[in-house]
């Protein structure tokens, strides 16, 4: 061991292991399974369990691979375009995610801004207060809303006490929005807060010296400088919201369409694995652009930190 330490170059040491172990793990458990989903999405439709045709025949070498590729079929994708349900659930997922992200931004910005204006001690406490619920179960946080929103729940009890008519919101799209905003608000607030907290206060001072009103200074200095935080927060909310399953399933109604729910139903109720895979691949293709945008944004933020 000692000889290895001395002989090994200073930069390399033991890091090859550091690269190899996680690399192999992710290749086996993350990258390879995607290829399986891709393959299954082009298989012939069949119900219930595998094996699915065509089957890759390794024993015939290249000939086998060629036969395999020829036997693949796009029938699952063709079926997706023929059934309006899939298209509708795509559009509806994107709409839920876009509106949910916008509402989160509208609610999250004033809170993050207020946090950034507090003293350092209060900031630390508030940050902790915002992060804490993020550690508690997602499922529990969504479940908590059922008790509030159901017809004989607390929301209606409160409305009746005020002499107002009750509303029937559980199992509607409205309840899904409440759930989405509630569950993803921390994802929006943390990047916003990070951007606002870093904001150089002398810039606002300069704006004030040059005669800008506080409102004008806010819109022409604070908002533009917080845009990286806005972008990160929006992507961090939008991407997972599109594929959300738990919220539409527990809070939404039978006609609430979301793609995550569609995959789940295809898979568990209809037992149509090839169709579920095809839907998953299209979802992934839809999300590739926002995911790449997010990664680029993160890389730029990391660069700026250095």
């Amino acid at each position: 061991m000692k000889a290895l330490g001395k002989a090994g170059s200073k930069r390399i040491g033991w890091p090859p292991l550091a690269v190899a172990a996680p690399f192999l793990w992710l290749a086996v458990f993350f990258a390879f399974p995607f290829l399986l989903v891709l393959k299954l999405s082009f298989s012939h439709p069949a119900l219930a369990m595998p094996p699915y045709a065509p089957k890759m025949d390794w024993s015939h070498g290249l000939q086998g691979i060629g036969d395999f590729l020829k036997a693949l079929s796009g029938v699952n994708y063709r079926r997706l375009t023929q059934d309006d349900l899939y298209f509708a659930s795509y559009l509806s997922s994107l709409r839920f995610a876009a509106i949910g992200t916008a509402i989160s931004l509208l609610i999250g910005y004033p809170i993050a801004y207020a946090m950034a204006r507090c003293g350092p001690q209060a900031r630390r406490l508030l940050l902790m207060a915002v992060i804490l619920p993020f550690w508690t179960s997602f499922l529990i946080r969504v479940y908590a809303w059922i008790g509030i929103l159901k017809p004989e729940g607390l929301l209606n009890a409160g409305l009746h006490a005020l002499g107002l008519p009750g509303i029937d919101i559980l199992n509607t799209d409205g309840a899904v929005y409440v759930g989405l905003v509630y569950a993803y608000l921390p994802f929006m607030m943390l990047p916003l807060y990070a951007a606002l907290e870093r904001l150089d206060p002398t810039l606002l001072e300069a704006a004030a010296d040059l005669g800008a009103s506080p409102t004008k200074a806010f819109w022409s200095v604070t908002v533009p400088l917080s845009l990286p935080g806005v972008a990160a927060g929006c992507l961090l909310c939008f991407i997972p919201m599109v594929g959300e399953f738990v919220i539409p399933d527990l809070l939404g109604g039978p006609d609430t369409l979301m793609i995550g729910k569609t995959i789940w139903t295809e898979f568990f109720s209809d037992r149509d694995w090839p169709s579920a895979s095809a839907v998953a691949i299209i979802l992934l293709v839809t999300l590739v652009v926002p995911i790449l945008l997010y990664q680029r944004q993160q890389a730029r933020a990391l660069e700026a930190q250095r």
Binding site: G13, P33, I239
Partner: protein
């Protein structure tokens, strides 16, 4: 000096939005906790304080089995994810250019934003393809895979800010790399490693979607059990279980932040002599 607007302290509007925001974040959780102590079975009628739902939750064998399975999966997957995640963070922070670096970093960071439904489906297909019987181990492996990324993010952030000079000094003094890592770097990144483990553990405890796809008979996790009961409606017993989970997580986070504070205070004391030099 006129004080800049951002440092002028919070205005009434700021305080109002903070109060409303924190209210929105905490109210549903608070209501859930309060209602778990309700003696009445009706979820909207307060029947007096009672802990009967906790007793009945503890007597519910299905729930207790699920809790035990979940705990074991959490410990195994968080530990595996921490080992691999720390290695991945070292690879990204310390090993310069290597072949497939871009592929590596995108594989590490993609699970963070990947919809759980896709992660679950793809892992299930893997286990089916290799004929691995689904159950405890498949869920544990799946959890280790998607929580690994979170550990890497937490540890990487700490590694980047950590002063490299210290490790280089140890190496210059003839310390082998692995020993320099164990005695200099590891103690410095330890808080991030612990935070990463805890994050991985809570994510595993929390996961419903990936577990539902990759689990088999005999390995029903607590979220799966809660989910199947929640679909039937609100039940006071589930409220009690949820309250216990919230309390456990809150206690964990609190202990960790206190320990962290103690550590940073100790660090501040330890570096004081150099500050004057």
């Amino acid at each position: 000096m006129t004080r800049p607007a951002l440092n002028r302290g919070p205005s009434a509007f700021n305080i109002a939005s903070l109060a409303l925001g924190l209210g929105f974040i905490y109210l549903p959780i608070a209501i859930l906790v309060i209602w778990s102590f309700n003696a009445s079975k009706l979820v909207t009628v307060w029947g007096g304080f009672s802990t009967r739902w906790y007793a009945s939750a503890f007597q519910n064998d299905q729930l207790m089995d699920a809790a035990w399975v979940t705990l074991r999966i959490g410990v195994f997957s968080a530990t595996t994810a921490t080992v691999l995640g720390v290695l991945a963070a070292i690879a990204l922070a310390k090993v310069g250019g290597f072949r497939g670096r871009t592929l590596f970093s995108s594989m590490v960071y993609s699970p963070l934003v990947m919809p759980e439904v896709i992660l679950g489906l793809s892992l299930l297909l893997l286990f089916v393809a290799v004929g691995f019987e689904r159950g405890f181990w498949t869920v544990a492996l799946a959890h280790a895979t998607f929580t690994l990324s979170y550990v890497t993010v937490a540890v990487h952030a700490r590694l980047v800010t950590f002063d490299k000079v210290l490790e280089e000094a140890a190496r210059d003094l003839g310390c082998p790399p692995w020993r320099a890592f164990l005695t200099v770097t590891l103690p410095n990144i330890a808080p991030a490693v612990v935070a990463g483990w805890m994050l991985a553990f809570t994510l595993s405890l929390d996961d419903l979607v990936v577990a539902s796809f990759t689990s088999g008979p005999g390995a029903t996790t607590l979220p799966m059990r809660i989910y199947s009961q929640v679909r039937l409606g609100v039940s006071p017993e589930i409220n009690a279980v949820c309250t216990l989970l919230i309390a456990a997580v809150a206690a964990g986070v609190l202990i960790w932040s206190l320990a962290n504070r103690w550590q940073s205070r100790r660090e501040a004391v330890a570096t004081k002599p150099y500050a004057g030099a």
